[in-house]
């Protein structure tokens, strides 16, 4: 294929670098600097896709972010990306793309059958049909409609690309590098401000690249290039192209997505494909320019109908003719600029101007160039199916209601210009209440809400001279406010052709007897008639009209359609546009890759992992790990082919018969110091703490103010004013915050310091009948006897030259000790314990064995302390002081909390002593009862009692204290299990707790 529509003497592309690419399987050539769109157009390809609802042929409508049509499936480096705008995708060697939303091919599209049916598919169509017969919607119709839905195809392969983040701060963030962006950036930078200038396109300069202007005796393009190269040299300036500022959030936080590699055949190793910038700016300058509005007429969605500014851009930036017989349809002077460019490049355009006899320098120039101009003329309809072949035109009366006789004009493209819509998204996102500017029939930013200022076309200023003047001024003033420098750059002299006012007319009436579709939203196929229906049906709020018709809800978010939609609504409603109001502008301005938003917290690193100092040892010894919050803990140490059940049973049994060691480093540890430490504990825990002797530990329970158990653990009095608190692994962070809350806000009179020492100490629990012997061997210099170190006693000692803390506390219900050493020595401690423990048949045990041990002892844990139970439920009422007040006490008096039949933890044993009861089963009286079957309680934890060698469970049971001895059924319909059970005491093993004290 040859580039028939490429001119060789104009454009900013690099003709020395030819690039081959594929579209729908056909190989084409373009040049470096092309977009996929410009390269296809150079090859005369206009048919690129099919529309969403009617699958009508789609070509190119714009040349950038506003593009509603040209959506393709992109193939790059063995990955595929759906819904890429061909007008934004830069060409690279080997690029492959295909049309979306058409099958079997873009030329013959079966979905187009919808087009023939379109009369049956007006707005709201779905809501009023497909209802009967009942259930047919989701059984028959919906699956069919779903197949037709969607644009591109998402591969479910994992993304191999890297996306990174960056937090940046600056004095001025400037969004858009058109004339206003460049001028303000330059003025501010020269005045010493820290500036970030962001441009979403590859090239800086915006309209200066395509307009015929002269700034300080340079062409607009030259001026832009010089300013940019100077800015790039300045240390206080960050200049970014391919970078879209897509969101304006609270407190002047803006977010920008920088595309570093999308324009390359593949991303460089170790480098991100995209980088998301969180930018906190002192001042924000919005110079996002404006987007040309379509004129609305029959079949205005036919390929070949496009914005006149786009046609000009294809010509001047890419050297591409969008047609050789162009028809320009305009209601303002912009169309003339495009026509003039065509003419200068040897193509004869025809201009249809809706205005009667406008006069301006630009129009005069067009006349000088002998361009054919028809005033008071409109395009009634485009002719041609897959490409414009001709246009049906007519004269229009001065009141714009009457069409003259229809004529035909042969043309191969129709370039429309319905004047300009300022891009006010960012301003609106910042909270700015926009106002309607009658002179330009569009919304412009009102009073600044945050520190944002909008400049140039985005602010409705369409002359270059004014734009530059105000931009230089603003850049200087704002930077001065921040830097206090006074380095003023003055605005250069500008030469531009003056234009005259535009025509408010934008929607061509239908000729008698014709039923042309006149489209507002090109991607979602929303036509004038659809909006009319919505209003007829009583939808008043523009937000409802939007949702009902889906106007502006396509991937272009209505950049070209919203305002025309508003104008239509206001016409029909006989309101003025500002009364109708526009729909809310929400981030992102343009779609953003989700991977970029997420950054590097993916895969294994989607959340941090916490590990104990002994982790490596566990790994080496076949530990199977389990997530405990973000901690990794050994669940059991696998021997051979052991299952979890076998392994944990072995480990638990060994604790009951010999001795086991368990890594308890993850338990929260809080160091509490200060003269009022005891008083704090006494207020936080439900039991009494003022009389705990030095060198003693005590078990405590703490509540939330609503009376629910928050956490439990032991706290040891290390010295007079020094306590060591332990918490559950899960609650460690919350408990610390909880204590800080009361110390800082509620009881500031208390002199106490709390600090987490969880990672300061590595902890090993030694449990089992032989643990004392082991301890004595580990610490020959201490008296490990029951007298020397009684239950709940505490000692400090030397472990082979390493300082250690010894607590005689037990979670397993066995005789047990907990040894702490400083973390660097954790592994050393562990190895010593294993080494010395050999003769006592020591085995390490994991969390599974640990829970077996605690369950059969009736010790409550996370599954009972689930944020919904009170002390009584957990048989902890004995620890609730009657005498003193404490956090949450007042809530315990509530009716439901003191109810006679209050739930309580109980033990559950299967009658057959064989069948394990699945956790999450419920207890019922009558297994045969019809649903809803009243539930009396649920199994919170189950284990295989190694003591009695039969299953045992804990349950939270209504009226638990009076249910001991009762026969119930444990039901797990999910597992088709119904197990006859007997309710027993939750303290199944050693109910008197003699072992821990032995």
């Amino acid at each position: 294929m040859t580039q028939n529509y490429r001119l060789d003497n104009i454009g900013l592309i690099n003709r020395d670098k030819k690039i081959s690419f594929k579209f729908n399987g056909v190989t084409y050539f373009g040049y470096e600097g092309d977009t996929l769109a410009s390269a296809l157009l150079a090859n005369g390809v206009h048919l690129i896709g099919r529309s969403f609802k009617y699958h009508r042929p789609r070509g190119f409508f714009g040349a950038g972010v506003d593009e509603p049509y040209a959506i393709v499936q992109l193939y790059r480096n063995n990955e595929t990306e759906p819904n890429v705008k061909a007008t934004e995708q830069e060409l690279f060697e080997g690029l492959e793309a295909t049309s979306v939303n058409c099958w079997p091919s873009v030329n013959f599209d079966i979905g187009a059958i919808n087009n023939l049916l379109k009369i049956f598919l007006p707005a709201g169509f779905y809501y009023k049909t497909f209802m009967w017969p009942k259930s047919f919607w989701y059984k028959v119709y919906e699956p069919f409609i779903r197949k037709a839905a969607g644009l591109g195809v998402a591969s479910i392969e994992h993304d191999k690309e890297r996306y990174e983040h960056k937090y940046e701060y600056c004095d001025l963030l400037i969004a858009g590098s058109g004339p206003s962006g460049l001028a303000s950036a330059y003025a501010a930078a020269k005045n010493g401000a820290r500036v970030i200038l962001a441009e979403d396109k590859p090239r800086f300069g915006g309209t200066l690249l395509t307009s015929e202007v002269n700034i300080g005796n340079q062409t607009g393009k030259e001026w832009a290039e010089n300013i940019i190269s100077e800015l790039k040299e300045m240390p206080n300036v960050i200049v970014k192209n391919r970078s879209q500022v897509f969101g304006y959030y609270d407190h002047n936080m803006l977010v920008m997505s920088e595309k570093l590699s999308d324009h390359l055949p593949k991303t460089k190793k170790y480098n991100p494909k995209q980088r998301l910038w969180y930018i906190r700016a002192k001042e924000v300058l919005i110079s996002s320019g404006s987007i040309e509005r379509p004129l609305v007429f029959g079949n205005n969605d036919t390929p070949g109908v496009m914005l006149s500014s786009a046609a000009k851009e294809y010509l001047k930036v890419y050297g591409v003719l969008v047609g050789k017989k162009p028809l320009i349809f305009t209601n303002n002077d912009s169309g003339y600029e495009t026509a003039i460019e065509f003419k200068k490049n040897g193509v004869d355009p025809i201009i249809l101007d809706t205005r009667k006899e406008p006069k301006s320098e630009i129009i005069d120039e067009a006349k000088k160039l002998d361009i054919e101009i028809k005033f008071s003329y409109v395009v009634v309809a485009a002719k041609g199916y897959k490409k414009v072949k001709s246009a049906e035109v007519a004269k229009i009366s001065d009141d714009k209601n009457e069409l003259g006789t229809l004529e035909n004009i042969n043309c191969d493209c129709i370039c429309v210009s319905g004047f300009w819509t300022p891009t006010i998204h960012l301003a609106s996102q910042s909270g700015n209440k926009t106002t309607f500017n009658k002179d330009i029939d569009a919304f412009v930013p009102g009073l600044s809400k945050q520190n944002e200022t909008t400049l140039g076309a985005a602010n409705g200023t369409f002359t270059l001279e004014e734009t530059l003047k105000s931009s230089f001024e603003t850049g200087y003033e704002l930077s001065k406010k921040i830097t206090n420098n006074d380095n003023k750059t003055s605005s250069p002299t500008v030469m531009e052709k003056k234009s005259t006012t535009h025509d408010k007319f934008w929607c061509v009436p239908l000729p008698k007897g014709k039923t042309y579709k006149r489209f507002l939203d090109f991607q979602n196929d929303v036509a004038v008639s659809d909006v009319e229906i919505a209003l007829k049906e009583g939808y008043r709020s523009i937000e409802h009209v939007k949702r009902y018709t889906t106007l502006g809800m396509a991937t272009d978010q209505g950049k070209t359609s919203n305002l025309n939609g508003l104008q239509l609504v206001s016409n029909i409603e006989n309101k003025i546009v500002p009364e109708v109001g526009h729909t809310t502008f929400r981030p992102p301005y343009t779609p953003v890759t989700i991977g970029a938003i997420v950054g590097r917290e993916v895969g294994k690193h989607s959340k941090p992992t916490r590990k104990s100092p002994m982790h490596t040892w566990h790994e080496k010894n076949n530990a199977v790990f389990v997530d405990a919050g973000v901690w990794l803990r050994p669940r059991y140490y696998k021997i051979g082919e052991e299952t979890l059940f076998e392994g944990s049973k072995r480990e638990a049994k060994n604790v009951r018969t010999n001795v086991g060691v368990c890594d308890v480093t993850t338990l929260g540890k809080i160091d509490i110091k200060g003269p009022d430490a005891a008083e704090l504990l006494n207020r936080v825990y439900t039991n009494a703490w003022l009389k705990l002797p030095v060198g003693k530990a005590r078990y405590g329970v703490m509540l939330r103010e609503d009376g629910i158990v928050m956490d439990d653990g032991t706290t040891t009095r290390i010295s007079e004013n020094h306590y060591h608190m332990t918490t559950t692994t899960a609650q460690a962070a919350n408990v610390l915050s909880h204590l800080e809350y009361y110390l800082q806000l509620v009881w500031p009179e208390l002199n106490v310091n709390v600090v987490s020492t969880t990672e300061q100490w590595a902890g090993a629990a030694i449990a089992g009948p032989k643990s004392r012997d082991l301890l004595q061997k580990l610490f020959p210099n201490i008296d490990a006897s029951n007298e020397g170190l009684p239950f709940m006693g505490y000692l400090e000692a030397d472990l082979f030259g390493v300082h250690a803390r010894i607590f005689r506390i037990s979670f397993s219900g066995e005789l047990a000790y907990e040894v702490n050493v400083e973390s660097d020595n954790g592994n050393f401690m562990w190895e010593k314990i294993m080494e010395v423990g050999q003769e006592f048949k020591i085995q390490p045990y994991g969390t599974e064995a640990l829970s077996t041990l605690r369950i059969e002892m009736g010790h409550i844990a996370g599954s009972e302390l689930d944020g919904r139970t009170i002390p009584y439920d957990n048989s902890l009422e004995g620890l609730v002081s009657k005498k003193k007040d404490f956090i949450g006490k007042r809530s315990l008096e509530r009716e439901a909390f003191i109810a006679e039949d209050r739930q309580k933890v109980v033990g559950v044993v299967p009658i057959d002593k064989k069948t394990s009861i699945p956790e999450g089963s419920h207890l019922v009286k009558d297994a045969m009862a019809p649903t809803p079957n009243p539930k009396l309680g649920y199994i919170s934890a189950s284990c295989w009692s190694v003591e009695y060698d039969n299953p045992f469970s804990l349950a939270i049971l209504k009226d638990g204290k009076n249910m001991i001895g009762q026969k119930l059924f444990a039901m797990s319909p999910l597992k088709n299990k119904t197990i006859p059970v007997e309710i027993v005491s939750s303290h199944y093993v050693d109910p008197k707790g003699e072992r821990v004290r032995s």
Binding site: Y270, K611, N751, D824, F828
Partner: protein, 195 residues
């Protein structure tokens, strides 16, 4: 050798990431610091003691944000109101601290083992910080410090030098491995040298 530092089993020496064709100066240097004394010093609310008269290793406790008082061995980092982190290679200072700071007025807590410390050096150091930490590093000068968050992990950042940039980052020991990954992963783009 009984003691194993937080990152001992993770930190790898050598060249990583996009280092090819770059000279040693351009590369970031990553190292683990271990065996430091880290003491949290907190003055109780009601204490009447004036800290101006107190000197530890000849350094003052200054109660102002970002502040560090330091000498070659010891750096006292402001950690919050009446709250400091003393970081020192001189273990014996602990004795001095306990002598000079009465326990009626101060809580002295040894948390030396509770942190993993990574040192980053090189001209792109701040770029690494900016990838995961929301703090404004543009104006951060030599001998200042702050607490913040990096990829969801709480950190203390000590700016040792600003020409070229050199920082120490402290994080909770148990997060060490995840944090080390976060930092080195962020370095790949520039290339780094584990030393």
């Amino acid at each position: 050798m009984s003691s194993i530092s937080a990152l001992k089993n993770i930190h790898i020496k050598g060249l990583f990431g996009d280092h090819e064709g770059k000279n040693d100066k351009e590369l970031l240097k990553i190292s683990e610091l271990s065996d430091y004394l880290i003491i949290q010093i907190v003055k109780y609310n009601s204490s009447a003691i004036t800290i101006e008269n107190i000197k530890l290793d000849d350094l003052n406790l200054k109660n102002e944000t970002l502040n560090i008082s330091c000498n070659t061995n010891t750096r006292i980092l402001w950690n919050g109101p009446n709250n400091w982190l003393l970081v020192s290679s001189k273990k014996e200072i602990l004795k001095e601290i306990n002598e000079k700071l009465p326990e009626t007025d101060f809580a002295i807590t040894n948390i030396s083992h509770s942190r993993a410390i990574i040192q980053i050096e090189g001209k792109n150091t701040k770029e690494i910080l900016k990838k995961g930490c929301p703090f404004n590093f543009n104006e951060l000068k030599k001998d200042t410090c702050l607490n913040s968050i990096y990829n969801g992990m709480s950190v203390t950042i000590d700016m040792l030098d600003d020409n070229p940039d050199k920082v120490r980052i402290f994080t909770l020991r148990s997060f060490g491995e995840s944090f080390y990954h976060s930092i080195t992963d962020a370095c790949l783009e520039f290339g780094y040298k584990g030393i």
